[in-house]
Subunit: 315 residues, 2 copies
């Protein structure tokens, strides 16, 4: 496997990104390689400084960077030699098997849609976040921000995408899928969730367990996959981030709550596109970059996008 | 002021409810009285047992109870001698100035709409929750569950209702009102929030400060009033309750997080109806009942519903 990394992306790029890549490379299998897109001099300097095994790396020198605040569509096409744009060229032509960045999320989405494109039959790709559960596992929440307005058929498809992700990447057999709602009963909710519940309840495409309310998100008792629209999902995710900030401000130390730290979070695949594309948190530290790169390798190895294609064919 | 309490409502009613009422009565002004609706024998027994000053109380004997799981509309009209139904009769005829219950929320809503009715000009009444902020205050979140599907004009009116509540009950001058959204920029969000932002941005009816994201809800830095639809608001509130449960499960003790305890939370007015109606948490303990009764007195004393009527006239 060849895994591509945008070393110019992220709040602490490129030094932190390159160091994180080196950490990840130590856990890479022999036949796998890390392809670094970015400032060649800087990459060489840090690889040398850290005594990295250069046989694990390939450097693709790029001269431009898409900044965090830049307009995704414009810059992706205009900055032809940006690390993200070149990375996606490599991904689309099969020179790499997965591509990760902690940089401009919008540009990564645009890149994925323009280059590898969405899988035929997918209505809307989405992104996810693992919610740490008190029993030591996690629930996969999706969508967490791409599609703020969803229709029931989109949420139905998220249930399939989330199930496949939970099964193949998190090794959860027959994952329990719940719909985030404001009541346990079928008829509860807003127009979207009550219509979605009707669609989901007799589904044979996934293991639907019913509604889940906000107070059960972290219990692990109800669901492995929590489906919601990108607006609600983003609010839920950011409220969890707020909570971690509060815990730190109050100087409380706890192993469980440490798992809420967005900086160690390894990124999310864009589910529903024709390859492995992983988006990391802008504030990623070295460890987060390492986790993001290893997550990219993992998602590419299990061929998640192929699994999604097969599932849609049978649907 | 005469404040009515449904002593039959709540998970630990009537014993806990009556004890909470006695605690509240100790802080009642001389000219105020607590009117208890429910099982007369039980009320008398506990008032005696607790050596309560009976001059502070009036007992209205009722023989029926609307259970937590019962259908609100049906039972409210059928159970004519239920504590909630009789309480609303007293409220509608001016025999009490406010009415509170930790019982069936749906029945309380139905009762409010049937008896005192919504204020002319109100599109949809709503309910609120204080979100404890790290700087020692709170932000008022609304709606937290009555209206899962809202239109922009409804959210606009929530901003007015929330402002008046924050100003008159929480003594916050010129309260900052923010729209819960998934980005800081004006154009961000779903169809509802982006249209609502346009409506709110030049408002002279309240002090609009822009969007607030999920990670700022508890900071206190952005807003005193946070406006959202009842679906998102309910998920946010229940996620906050989940955090409190997690904190307790991890055996962490902290003054700030103790403020997330839903059991001490004093209830919310139904904003937009023609009198003071307060709904408490089902799991209310004695202290929560006390807080709910005192909150009812406070909201009645500041004549919040009159202030809302005036504001709508000038609108």
């Amino acid at each position: 496997m060849n895994i591509g990394l945008d070393v110019m992306g992220g709040d602490y790029a490129p030094t932190t990104t390159i160091k994180g890549a080196i950490m990840a490379s130590l856990e890479f299998p022999k036949d796998s390689k890390l392809v670094l897109f970015g400032d060649e001099d800087k990459i060489k300097e840090i690889l040398k400084q850290e005594n990295a095994d250069t046989s694990k790396f390939e450097i693709v020198a790029t001269t431009q960077v898409i900044g965090m605040g830049e307009h995704p569509v414009k810059t992706f096409t205009q900055k032809k030699d940006s690390s993200i744009t070149v990375g996606f060229k490599y991904l689309a032509t099969g020179k790499i098997d997965g591509f990760a960045s902690a940089g401009n999320t919008g540009a990564m989405l645009v890149g994925a849609m323009h280059s590898v494109q969405q899988i035929s039959g997918i209505i809307r790709p989405c992104i996810t976040s693992p919610m740490p559960t008190i029993n030591g596992g996690q629930s996969i929440l999706l969508d967490v921000g791409i599609n703020p307005d969803c229709k029931p058929d989109v949420l139905y498809q998220y249930a399939i995408l989330g199930s496949l992700y939970a099964e193949h990447v998190y090794n959860i057999k027959n994952p329990r899928v719940a719909l985030l709602n404001i009541g346990e009963e079928e008829e509860k909710g807003n127009l979207l969730t009550s219509a979605t519940h009707k669609l989901m309840k007799d589904s044979k495409d996934f293991n639907f367990v019913g509604n889940i309310e906000g107070n059960q998100i972290f219990s692990g008792k109800v669901a492995d996959v929590i489906v919601t629209d990108g607006f609600t999902g983003n609010v839920v995710l950011k409220e969890a981030e707020a909570f971690y900030t509060l815990i730190k401000k109050r100087e409380l130390n706890d192993d469980y709550f440490d798992r809420f730290n967005p900086e160690i979070y390894g990124g999310t695949p864009i589910l529903g596109v024709n390859s492995t594309v992983i988006i990391g948190h802008g504030a990623s530290n070295e460890n987060a970059i390492k986790n993001m790169v290893l997550h990219t390798l993992h998602v590419a190895e299990v061929k998640l996008s192929e699994k999604i294609k097969e599932a849609l064919k049978n649907d």
